[in-house]
């Protein structure tokens, strides 16, 4: 019979990865319950302010729920869709919009992991009688008795490494989470899916931000504000050089991200990049590529995983965006909830709103949000 201690809730998105997790755990004989989180209604902004009328959404679409339900049925595990749209809007959508309007570049996937997948979902799992959750993330976690801590590690498939988005996981969350795909490569997972007879073994990966089909986040922000009956804040201003020289005008700071080169609308002999964004003066500073280099950054909203906290200085490899080779740096505490990251060699395009995640070889030490 069902036993709360041993029941595992599998987060099922209808994709290959989470479906394979469900099949693997089922084959291992675990007592499972499948859960899909309904997070966003793709129809909500359809047709508003230039958003596509027909949505072919990836996440939370009826097709994906149908796929997840089919998998659960084939594996004969109980399956439920749970509605967490309000929390998703509060903890992911709204901050996403506000961050862009504040001139920063948010990472909704990390917010979703922190608030929905590993907080809300774990809570829902416990409420319905499962002590642990399993997801299709490419990451590894294990308990180290020597340090007395749960450790988050990079997966076997470096190209699918999702640890950057998981730096916010608490010890409590890591202790109750399984990442069964951590030891496999994506091609191996597809092979497993075929072996388990899953019809969706060849389903394409999702790439873009799940709630923005087509990937046009500017339109999404406009449509969302229109739906909320909020006038878009006046953030139009000037494009200037570091020396203060006027180079042109722009329609709003949320149209830019640090390091951006395309879409500046400026004629220039040499390539120009966005160097920094100032929400208060509404100025977007542009300049040559070498101006993007930074010796250091500050990160706040810290979470530590392999250590309890920073004592003195620490050497680490630091990743400042998802597709970024970790760079050697020294970490130093500069406030109650702030560290300074001093790079050995200057880093290109340090982007406020993105995460700085600290690694020691394959282990995630911790991370924070770049300010």
């Amino acid at each position: 019979m069902t036993n709360q201690e041993n029941t595992i809730a599998v987060a099922m998105s209808g994709g290959v990865d989470s479906s394979t997790v469900a099949a693997m755990l089922k084959a291992e004989g675990h007592d499972l319950v499948g859960l899909t989180m309904q997070l966003w209604n793709q129809r909500r902004l359809a047709g508003k302010d230039g958003m596509p009328e027909q949505v072919q959404g990836r996440c939370c679409s009826i097709d994906d729920v149908y796929d997840a339900r089919r998998v659960a049925e084939v594996l004969s595990i109980p399956y439920y869709v749970v509605n967490h749209q309000e929390r998703f809007e509060r903890d992911v959508i709204r901050p996403f919009v506000d961050e862009y309007l504040a001139g920063r570049t948010p990472i909704p996937c990390s917010l979703c992991n922190n608030h929905l997948k590993f907080d809300q979902l774990l809570m829902t799992a416990r409420q319905i009688g499962a002590e642990r959750i399993a997801t299709g993330h490419y990451a590894r976690n294990e308990y180290d008795p020597k340090r007395g801590r749960w450790i988050l590690k990079r997966p076997a498939d470096a190209s699918k490494d999702q640890t950057y988005f998981l730096f916010g996981l608490t010890q409590e969350q890591l202790a109750h989470t399984l990442f069964p795909l951590g030891g496999f490569t994506k091609p191996e997972v597809r092979e497993l899916a075929r072996d388990y007879g899953l019809a969706l073994a060849n389903k394409p990966d999702s790439q873009e931000i799940c709630f923005i089909p087509g990937g046009d986040y500017k339109r999404f922000i406009d449509a969302y504000l229109e739906e909320q009956g909020e006038a878009p804040p006046e953030t139009a201003g000037e494009l200037v050089t570091a020396g203060g020289e006027f180079r042109g005008k722009h329609d709003g700071v949320h149209n830019f991200t640090v390091g951006q080169r395309k879409g500046l609308g400026l004629a220039s002999a040499s390539a120009l990049y966005v160097i920094s964004i100032d929400r208060d003066t509404k100025q977007v500073t542009v300049g040559a590529e070498q101006e993007l280099l930074r010796d250091s950054l500050r990160a706040q909203g810290l979470n530590w995983i392999s250590i309890a906290g920073l004592i003195g200085e620490m050497r680490a490899q630091v990743k400042i965006r998802h597709r970024h080779e970790p760079a050697w740096a020294t970490l130093r505490q500069t406030g109650v909830d702030e560290v300074e990251v001093q790079f050995d060699a200057p880093a290109r395009a340090v982007t406020p709103g993105q995460a700085a995640v600290f690694y020691s070889a394959d282990e995630v030490i911790g991370g924070g949000w770049i300010v």
Binding site: T2, Q38, N41, P78, V82, N83
Partner: protein, 381 residues
């Protein structure tokens, strides 16, 4: 442990005698009720016997019964069949989606529409209906019993107001059929919807009462079936099932079945209200089988799933297209916050619900509530 089903307002189990009545019409008596030959005639006479049974349940003439595919079709036929551009329609904010969305669609098409509010108990004031009348009002649509709370609307008083104003009156009685004596003349309605599967007939069956002389534009273009009010070959077996279920319902009403259900419902409610913030609509007149309780601070959806895994079927809110539940528009219209609506659970009994099942349900719900309260106490953010 065998499962306990307390979600009768979603659907009810088929009665064995209903299945027995239907069986020959799924097998040897397969005729089309419109055919001239013996096979057809056999089907036709079965359909007409069923029509007479349903008419007895509603105290109307058999010719006033139109068979449909269920509550949604009945409501849509009554509404779209009655209203033209330039008309005005009055309904309430607590109707089933079949009425609510149909009237909203009329609104999109340029018909004037009013959705009347309800009080904290979920009851609409007849006086509000009177006040809402306009020279171009052609239809008033008010449900008899609410699907989520069981709360009864003052349809008789509204029927009088409609009669005085000469306005057509539609009653969605899907959740009342079999639970209350129904008399279309006492109610004073022109149209009344019932659904088969809410009263132990199969899903995909239903009927719309259409008062003699009430002109109705059909929804479907097609043959002349159902006196040109509903095109399409009759679902003979389903109709026979509905007829049998109507007979059983009438018999149950005569044998004080609702009173027995009320005793069990009240026992369940009295035990669970100790853990709850209150009974939604608890001070209003209600059908005998339904109770809707607000367990403040708890996630109703998680509670439904937890109970399901322990063998008890109940529900919270309405299902959205993915299958997740959405906060109930009915409870929100009664003044509950979204959080309170999300914390509310509906228990609905059926005629086969037993004392033992109620006792077990009380135990199951109480222990899950205790467990969830402990959990939320330690994980509160």
């Amino acid at each position: 442990m065998p499962r306990i089903y307390l979600d009768a307002n979603a659907t009810t189990p088929l009665l064995p005698e209903v299945l027995e009545a239907m069986r020959p019409f799924l097998l040897e008596h397969f005729g089309n009720a419109s055919s001239i030959h013996q096979e057809g005639q056999h089907a036709r006479s079965a359909v007409e016997r069923a029509r007479a049974s349903v008419a007895r349940l509603l105290s109307c003439r058999p010719s006033e019964i139109v068979f449909t595919s269920g509550g949604t079709e009945g409501d849509n036929l009554a509404i779209f069949g009655s209203v033209r551009p330039g008309d005005h329609v009055i309904t309430t904010s607590v109707e089933h989606h079949a009425v609510l969305h149909a009237v909203e669609r009329l609104g999109d098409r340029g018909v004037d529409v009013d959705f009347l509010p309800v009080n904290r108990q979920g009851v609409v004031a007849p006086e509000d209906v009177r006040q809402a009348l306009r020279p171009n009002t052609t239809l008033i649509s008010v449900m008899m019993a609410n699907n989520e709370t069981g709360v009864l609307q003052p349809v008789k008083e509204i029927g009088q107001i409609a009669a005085e104003a000469g306005v057509r009156f539609h009653v969605d009685a899907v959740q009342a059929a079999g639970k209350l004596p129904l008399d279309v003349d006492t109610i004073g309605c022109h149209l009344l919807t019932i659904s088969g599967h809410k009263m132990h007939a199969p899903q995909g069956t239903g009927a719309l009462y259409v008062r003699r002389g009430t002109r109705l534009e059909p929804l479907f273009a097609g043959g002349a079936h159902e006196r040109q009010r509903r095109a399409g070959t009759e679902n003979v077996a389903g109709i026979v099932g509905l007829g049998k279920a109507a007979e059983c319902a009438l018999e149950g009403l005569g044998n004080a079945l609702p009173e027995q259900m009320r005793v069990l419902r009240d026992r369940l409610e009295a035990a669970l209200v100790q853990h709850a913030a209150g009974v939604n609509g608890g001070h209003a007149a209600r059908v005998a089988n339904t109770t809707n309780l607000c367990f403040e601070g708890l996630d109703g959806e998680a509670l439904v799933i937890a109970l399901d895994r322990k063998g008890l079927a109940v529900s919270s809110g309405a299902a959205c297209s993915s299958g997740a539940s959405e906060p109930s528009h009915v409870l929100e219209a009664m003044g509950l916050s979204t959080e309170q609506a999300r914390s509310s659970l509906r228990f609905s009994l059926h005629r086969q619900t037993t004392e033992e099942e109620i006792a077990q349900a009380i135990e199951l719900v109480s222990s899950q509530l205790e467990r969830l309260r402990e959990l939320s106490a330690v994980t509160v953010r």
